[in-house]
Amino acid sequence: MAAAGAAQEKQFPPALLSFFIYNPRFGPREGEEEKKILFYHPNEVEKNEKIRNVGLCEAIVQFTRTFSPSKPAKSLHTQKNRQFFNEPEENFWMVMVVRNPMIEKHSKDGKPIVEYQEEELLDKVYSSVLQQCYSMYKLFNGTFLKAMEDGGVKVLKERLEKFFHRYLQTLHLQSCDLLDIFGGISFFPLDKMTYLKIQSFINKMEESLNIVKYTAFLYNDQLIWSGLEQDDMRILYKYLTTSLFPRHIEPELAGRDSPIRAEMPGNLQHYGRFLTGPLNLNDPEAKCRFPKIFVNTDDTYEELHLIVYKAMSAAVCFMIDASMQPSLDFCRRLDSIVGPQLTVLASDICEQYNINKRISGSEKEPQFKFIYFNHMNLAEKSTIHMRKTPSISLTSVHPDLMKILGDINSDFTRMDEDEEIIVKAMSDYWVVGKKSDQRELYVILNQKNANLIEVNEEVKKLCATQFNNIFFLD
């Protein structure tokens, strides 16, 4: 592509066209179709168009069900956009319509011509994004059914409006990739002794704060311990690392993370502070309102307050039963007990981590660009992605390569057996995908002149250094 030509082209990334939630049972009769719609974005769309779009989705789902009763259609491809369907609860449908990426070219007469890139979007990536929308809603609001029980359609609509109005703005569909499919958790590498110290800390805190039901512990935005079940932790982790923590980065960088209570007599100097709940404990009017979350919605259905407390790089989430209202006294007590100990622990972890890094020699830049995911514990590791910010997830490789990774993943999903796929990309990169039992590994090699055997050898080397302590077939 000539430079001059490129200058005339304008690229448009994929974008959210509409997002709606409906239940066909709510308006089965003609003329009552509007009742089906529980949420519609953008809200400005004319009523009849809303009804039409919902009706179309309903029809597609119904129609495709004839062919596959247990697995109705997941997506609909059209030239301009792609629609994704998800039925997270019985008869509740969520639909997300994404506009295909497009290139605007200028013809010789200066007229703009729009070219839709129909094959760019990966179904699995955006289906996963849609599923995540539901999981995130459920984390903070409980199930749709629960809202219905609490106050009928009215309450459900209010909750959907309140939640998705803000949430949809944070979707950033242009930077979704393989990691959205995995929805994995990055674990912080740690030696046994430090890990046991953290265990001991958590157990002691749970005992002395006595109303804590579950605790999660993170360091450097990576998980170390979860008292929650895996699926609940997965979505909470997503919330913490892509929303809550990034929002607090800026004040930290601005140096406002100094020990604010250092001057208070009788209190040990510590760096602890609440990321949710009261901002200033010295203010007697301080509000102790914490976000509510819903976990184990399949069986025990628990409603909890989420207290996130952080000292330096260590963050701990205390979850307490929603029936208990944490008072300012409780928050002060928590601060005085947890703050000093967490500060010491955080510096212990930091120190130990640096020692381990020096011993293993892993402080050097990784030579390989790879993504690893284990379905069993959701462990995810990527040397391709830089740190996530609330707005974008930065990758260090070209989107084309990311798309190849997604394609390989789709192939893996179709097969049960272990397999290995090696692709030579157009850009002279080699892309290798390996699947062994429940683990997947994707490697990108920048070795233009390497042959298949050499690439295979390189990947073997990577496995030997990075994954020698797990059973990973080569």
Partner: protein
């Protein structure tokens, strides 16, 4: 047993030495060196009976009454008897000669001899407070440096101010100490008597090291039992104990101690009735404790001459548990005691019980103290083994195998007596059970003690019982539960209730690197024949595997293409190893060859390549 009864932490021994009580015709003597009591009747004419706490059969003999006996003793081993009847003569009943080995000329007020340490103390100077110790060893006598006992206040006169009654010598924690009972503190603001401890080393100077505050005045007597200093107080008929190893108030040179426990009487004692049980129908008589006729000897002897008993004093540990509420201090105290093991284990059980539960920080402190002691022993044992193995033991004749005291509470003790019982209790919340187990494992790791697999199994069992699989998964992910074959097998058995256990198990087998056969078996059992073959080839073991085993597994999958692949692999192996693709009769693969021919035809068999 009533509450109160359980409170007594000192007792007289159950089987005292009984002798004829002192009366005008029967004189009683005690020899501290042999711990023997001499009952001398009518100056020996009607008999002398000698009894010691160890020798149960008394020695009886007669000797001529040549006047009042002032002192009577046996030599070590009961070979020679010495009798003193006047101030300056000692009579040996048989003709023996004594040899003067060494002489020192010192003006002595009084002397005191400690048989355990073979040290004699001489009181010198006018006030008597400068003490000169001598040490006897192998026929030689060496003079140690003298030291001065600080008297309570500047003495008014120049008369003897330090009485031998206020001085005792005893070995405490392996070190010889001189104990001085100071009736009034030197500082006027603190009333009450105190015991001042001087450490008397074999070499170097004697130094004042500890002060034991009694907080009362009156008549006192001292004993040393199980390295504890026991101070009896006659006025209140109670005793207190001090442990110089417990933390006290340290001012840079001297440590100030307060009684470990509140003052208590020695446990009431019933005098057993003499004679055969059938004759005596009367109930036992309570013994008068702290009687003015009691005489106390070091380290642990109490004699009642008027009643005719010699007891040793003993410390009871169980009552201490309820009196010493600070669990950390309690452990410090118990770990120094001789018969501590069962008491310590019962304290551990108690603090984990639902009714008397300790907080996790307390439990952690207790575990750390136990494991500190445990580690010290393991290290000593390891050093000893190393010295022996490297042959350095010959050059070091003093080297001794470390003694395992009762204070060494190992993992097996904790498992058997405390943890396995504790995890079985239904009423205890599982969260607490897991926290305690993890705390114990944390403590072991902190002291770098390898954790035994049965503790890991206990953790897994508890987690599985409560369906806490994700927790288990995380523990394994961070290698908190150490890899081992039994653990890997345990995980395999969990696969049906928790599928990820399969992966965890395989990973563990892989890390063990000695379990390749097991990995192959696991994969074959899951019909992952190709994976098994690739694995064994990856580690270079494919020349030694049984073809039949793999072909069996491949056939079971009913996947003909897989069977073909596996069959071909072994044909190629045969070709490579023996120059012929055919299987040998020893491989027992006839049925597989037949099956192959049946499915793929004869022509599909590999042809031998000839050169």
């Amino acid at each position: 047993m009533s509450e109160e009864e359980e409170d007594y932490y000192l007792e007289l021994c159950e089987r005292p030495v009984h002798f004829e009580k002192a009366n005008p015709v029967n004189c009683v003597f005690f020899d501290e060196a042999n711990k023997q009591v001499f009952a001398v009747r009518s100056g020996g004419a009607t008999g002398v009976v000698v009894k010691g706490p160890e020798d149960r059969s008394p020695i009886s003999f007669r000797m001529e009454d040549k006047g009042e006996v002032k002192c009577i003793k046996f030599s070590l081993g009961n070979k020679i008897l010495a009798v003193q009847r006047t101030a300056k003569t000692v009579v040996l009943p048989e003709k023996r000669s004594l040899k003067l080995l060494k002489s020192q000329n010192i003006n002595v007020n009084w002397y005191m001899y400690c048989p355990e340490s073979s040290v004699i103390l001489l009181s010198t100077t006018v006030l008597g407070n400068v003490l000169q110790p001598f040490y006897f060893r192998a026929g030689t006598m060496s003079k140690l440096s003298k030291f001065e006992i600080e008297l309570p206040a500047a003495p008014k006169s120049t008369k003897l101010s330090l009485s031998e009654r206020d001085i005792a010598m005893a070995t405490i924690y392996g070190q010889l100490h001189v104990l001085f009972l100071r009736h009034h503190s030197r500082t006027s603001n603190s009333a009450g008597a105190e015991v001042v401890l001087y450490h008397l080393p074999r070499e170097g100077v004697c130094k004042k090291t500890h002060i034991l505050k009694l907080n009362r005045t009156g008549k006192f007597a001292l004993n040393v039992v199980d390295n504890l200093v026991v101070v009896h107080h006659q006025d209140t008929e109670t005793s207190v104990i001090f442990d110089i190893k417990l933390r006290g108030e340290f001012d840079g040179t001297i440590t100030l101690h307060h009684p470990v426990l509140p003052a208590r009487s020695i446990q009431p004692y019933q005098i057993p009735m003499a004679g055969p049980a059938s004759v005596t129908s009367q109930s036992p008589v309570p013994c008068k404790l702290y009687s003015s006729s009691w005489i106390v000897f070091q380290p642990d002897i109490i004699i009642s001459a008027s009643q005719g008993y010699l007891w040793t004093l003993q410390v009871k540990l169980q009552p201490v548990v309820n009196l010493l509420l600070d669990k950390g201090r309690l452990m410090d105290f118990l770990l120094q005691r001789r018969d501590c093991k069962m008491v310590i284990l019962s304290v551990c059980s108690q603090m984990l019980s639902e009714s008397d539960r300790g907080t996790l920080p307390v439990i952690a402190t207790v575990f750390d103290k136990l494991n500190h002691e445990y580690k010290k022993y393991l290290e000593a044992e390891q050093n000893y083994t190393m010295v022996v193995e490297t042959g350095q033991s010959r050059s070091n004749p003093l080297l001794k195998r470390p003694v395992r005291t009762q204070a060494v509470i190992d993992q097996s003790d904790m498992y058997t007596h405390v943890l396995s019982v504790f995890t079985e209790k239904k009423e205890i919340p599982h969260k607490f059970v897991i926290a305690v187990l993890m705390e114990y494992i944390r403590s072991l790791n902190q002291f770098q003690i390898p954790v035994q697999h049965y503790l890991h199994e206990l953790v897994i069992k508890t987690l599985v019982q409560h369906n806490l699989f994700y927790m288990l998964h995380q523990f394994l992910q961070y290698h908190v539960l150490s890899d081992s074959k039994p653990l890997a097998c345990l995980l395999l058995s969990l696969e049906s209730i928790y599928p990820p256990a399969h992966q965890l198990s395989l990973d563990m087998l892989k890390r063990l690197s000695t379990a390749n056969d097991e990995i192959v078996e696991v994969l074959l059992s899951k019909h992952q024949v190709l994976a098994a073959l690739r694995f064994i080839r990856g580690i270079g073991g494919h020349d030694n595997i049984s073809a039949r085993k793999f072909l069996d597994a491949a056939k079971q999958t009913e996947d003909n293409m897989l069977f073909y692949t596996i069959f071909r692999f072994f044909e190629q192996r045969n070709q490579r190893l023996r120059g012929n693709p055919n299987f040998t009769p020893g491989e027992h693969c006839d049925e597989h060859v037949a099956f192959f021919k049946q499915v793929f035809g004869d022509q599909a068999l590999m042809k031998p390549t000839t050169f």
